[in-house]
Symmetry: C2
Amino acid sequence: MAPKQILAPGALPGLLGYRLRLAQQAVFRDFAASVHGLSPGRVGLLILIDANPGVTQSRLAEAARRDRSTMVGVLDQLEGRGLIERRRGEDRRTNGLWLTRAGRALLARALRAIAVHERRIATRLSAAERRQLLALLGKIAA
Amino acid sequence: MAPKQILAPGALPGLLGYRLRLAQQAVFRDFAASVHGLSPGRVGLLILIDANPGVTQSRLAEAARRDRSTMVGVLDQLEGRGLIERRRGEDRRTNGLWLTRAGRALLARALRAIAVHERRIATRLSAAERRQLLALLGKIAA
DNA sequence: TATTGTTATACTCTATAACTATA
DNA sequence: TATAGTTATAGAGTATAACAATA
């Protein structure tokens, strides 16, 4: 058997965009497994609903930068798992969204798992470096 | 019409993982439009092939962290656009990959567009901050 | 007329399993 | 037996267009 080729890295490593993607992939690689099958996006929705009880589907979609049609299936899933509840709004075109008791419990567990996860990431950073990184990322993303 | 709800941000903003994703999305938002319909992933492949002429599909897949079956369709597209060429290897199970003349030309244009893009991102960072950010990201991702 | 939630549909990117030809 | 490329298939995650109910 011939030895495996060794690849030259090319022009990628110096690019900010590329390195951001690498870091993001590394961070999220084991995320789902650690929070009971909830993807980062799903947990983000639970956090938003928790912080905004009664939020409508459209407003939630806007906050998460998704089309409102995209939210329908996602919310169907979360509702099917008993994590959220839709209640028809005063404006009867709308559904208000709330976490169920089970949803709040799972979110609490997920947040603890995320905290562990963050600590695992930040193992290679000092507290000062972590703050610095957050500040620099804040300058790039709005 | 009732005023739109204002959403509380929830627990997300302090999380490294979340901020990485935000920054990455911001960086790549207008990427595709700026490089003639090539996604970041596609350009990455062209860069790797350019730096490793004759690389096999499986080795490329490994370098890009994709399954080799995933590469087939992607390479079909790039070949269909006349950007790359497959040549049967000495080991006749393998295909070696090369950029075509058109592929090299498009890559050159893409790299110029990316440079502009990087400068646009880095507008809000000093040169020192950019170096710092790359260094910090390097500590997170392998 | 405009908005909300919904459906039908489609596209991108990804993976797994099984096939073939070669080694 | 093992590997490289391929195919069939499926699953996330996303979007656009059109529809009914409601404002």
